[in-house]
Amino acid sequence: MKLKHTLMAAIGLAFAASAVHADINVGVTVSATGPAASLGIPEKNTFALMPTTIGGEKVNYIVLDDASDTTTAVKNVRKLITENKVDVIIGSTTTPNSLAMIDVVAEAATPMISMAASARIIEPIDDKKRWVFKTPQNDAQMATAIIEHMTNNNVKTVAFIGFADAYGEGWYEQFKSVAEARKLQIVANERFNRNDTSVTGQILKIISSRPDAVLIAGSGTPAALPQKTLKERGYAGKLYQTHGVANNDFLRVCGKDCEGTFLPAGPVLVAAQLPDSNPVKKPALEYIAKYEAAHGKGSVSTFGAHAWDAGLLMAAAVPEALKKAKPGTAEFRAAMRDALENVKELPAAHGIFNMSPTDHLGFDQRARVMVEIKNGTWSLVK
């Protein structure tokens, strides 16, 4: 009898749903191939783990690959908006792609949640960027964490080596401005390419400037090469990496040369080591458990967690927006935007979101921890 009732209810719901076309369509563009693939692949995998119903409505995820290419990202977004009539866009993996997508989503009045790091994606908030949100921490927050750690450990001079692209350049700008304020002297500024087979020249120059510490601003396994070369040349000072290296492949490639390296990272990287009182611990562990159940132990990375956080933001906003309008309409998209902007105290894998009309990231100090590489694994610096 009970079963019959449930069935009836389900059929009734299904009819109701089809009558108003109330499916929520989420358009996703990630860089699952091309230079940013090591970030894009875990993000893409994460969308498969997201809830398929939110607030009683069915959610469809339409995931496209933009091959780390700006033009393709824009094309994907246009396709998602015009053909799939999506209610929200999530993407893309890289900063250049995300910046290029802003015009398109603003024109179509569709909210967008980026998984790229640069603060330029959401700042300053204007008529276009009011539609744009992002989940990764700003580089400035991470740079401040590194510099605090340096000054606390008596580092007076520091050398910088970063990617010869937007990532390295952006980091240098952020790092320089904070370092100058804290009286930290930058004695060398070098660049290398993701695909370089040798960085001996840059490293020799850095060593000859005798810095107390070296900061390597690269993402993923390529950031291991300068570190290995520094150790090979007998550099004994402190070594810092950025949160871009926070995946297990980096540990595998870098091996024992990475022992004692410091980096700032989202708390999800060391979730198990966080105190139970930390509100981030629960959502972070939940994400890790889901991801590793699907992809094997040790497969989780912090990049995928940015996608997860985007999903959490969306899931928090949808019930609010549903009160005002039906999915698939311009009113629903506008209501989604307003709801995203009003997300308060939402614990996620990387921190706690507190959105406001002037802050479309909403992370504070709780969104970063300092991590040391110890015995070939990440260890929380207390």
Partner: protein, 345 residues
């Protein structure tokens, strides 16, 4: 900058230059014999290195399935032709090389404990998987259009390159790999610390260059390749099969590429798309040699390596710009000094 730094940079430049020299030689060879500008050359470097790395983690490298796939395609094409003309003996040969060999290799790899094998065996297996892809690639991609203009061959090369990079991402994933060095020996030469691997790279490059020289000067196959390079029609009239010449050339090119990859994998991190840039630098060296002269290309490669090392010290942000800008004065100089040869189209 003092003398010691200059020495260290010089050492670094020569090590990289040795690899570029090998690739430049392969590029010159392929172009001379088949008129193909072999852009996928670099992919063989990455495939060789990553296949070895995969075996060292104890996984059956996915490249072997690519080899099987290519073999099946080639067997269908060649076997069909042989069946039609009723050459049963040829059919056995086709099936043996294109089906039995890859499948046998795959079976062997699945049975053996790859992780525990000695390094030398792993290297040989990596070469055994990657090198036959050269002639198979020639059979599948270039042989049907062997007489097409250079431009079409170039476009097809680009397609082959993009295809191989995509497969590389699928096989090896986006993250890099590094293999342990062949030996942990280190020598202190004055202020220099020379690692065993650096010596391996340089010695292997020199040995390979000498071996290639002997091959071209002393063996009948080498002479046949040289004849094809000098005059394709003439060589064909003398009974040298252009197909055989093409396959042999691609075998050599794939061997050089895969070996380079195996040699540099312990020095640097290799990614699925690393090969392109290494190949491109080899190409700059080959251009210095006018895509014709082996010794000039080899010298050019060392020059590229040194220029790269020194520019990474002085202006690291502009390193690639400096290396690739080298091609402009070289082209100017070449077009001013050499007389122009019309392409025979």
């Amino acid at each position: 900058m003092d003398f010691q730094i200059a020495l260290l940079l010089g050492q670094d430049g020569i090590t990289n230059g040795a690899i570029y020299a090998l690739l430049a030689l392969a590029l010159v060879l392929v172009f001379a014999v088949t008129r193909v500008i072999f852009i996928p050359q670099g992919e063989f470097v990455a495939f060789g290195a990553l296949t070895l790395a995969m075996m060292q983690t104890g996984i059956v490298p996915a490249t072997v399935w690519l080899l099987v796939g290519m073999g099946v395609l080639a067997a269908v094409l060649d076997g069909g032709a042989a069946l039609k003309s009723g050459q049963t003996r040829k059919l056995v040969g086709v099936a043996g090389w294109n089906l039995a060999y890859p499948l046998g290799l795959a079976a062997l790899l699945m049975l053996l404990p790859l992780k525990e094998l000695p390094m030398l065996a792993q290297v040989l297996f990596a070469l055994a998987i990657v090198v036959p892809m050269g002639p198979l690639m020639y059979r599948l991609v270039y042989q049907p259009i062997a007489s097409a203009p250079v431009l079409i061959l170039l476009i097809v090369s680009v397609a082959a390159h993009v295809g191989m990079v995509g497969l590389g991402l699928l096989f090896f994933g986006a993250e890099g790999q590094r293999t342990p060095p062949f030996s942990d020996v280190r020598f202190d030469v004055g202020p220099l610390l020379v690692s065993g691997q650096t010596i391996w790279v340089i010695v292997a490059s020199l040995a390979l260059i000498v071996a290639l020289y002997l091959f071209f000067e002393r063996t009948i196959y080498g002479k046949a390749l040289r004849a094809t390079a000098i005059n394709r029609t003439g060589a064909q009239l003398m009974g040298i099969s252009p197909t055989l010449a093409g396959k042999l050339t691609f075998l050599l090119a794939a061997f050089i590429g895969a070996l380079s990859g195996v040699l540099i994998a312990p020095i640097t991190t290799i990614y699925y798309d690393t090969g392109f840039l290494i190949g491109l630098k080899g190409f700059v060296a080959a251009i210095i040699g006018g895509l014709a002269s082996y010794p000039v290309a080899a010298v050019g490669a060392v020059l590229v390596g040194l220029l790269e090392a020194f520019s990474s010290f002085w202006a690291s942000a502009y390193k690639e710009v400096i290396v690739f800008t080298l091609i402009i004065p070289v082209l100017l100089w070449r077009s001013l000094t050499s007389h122009h040869l019309e392409e025979e189209e």
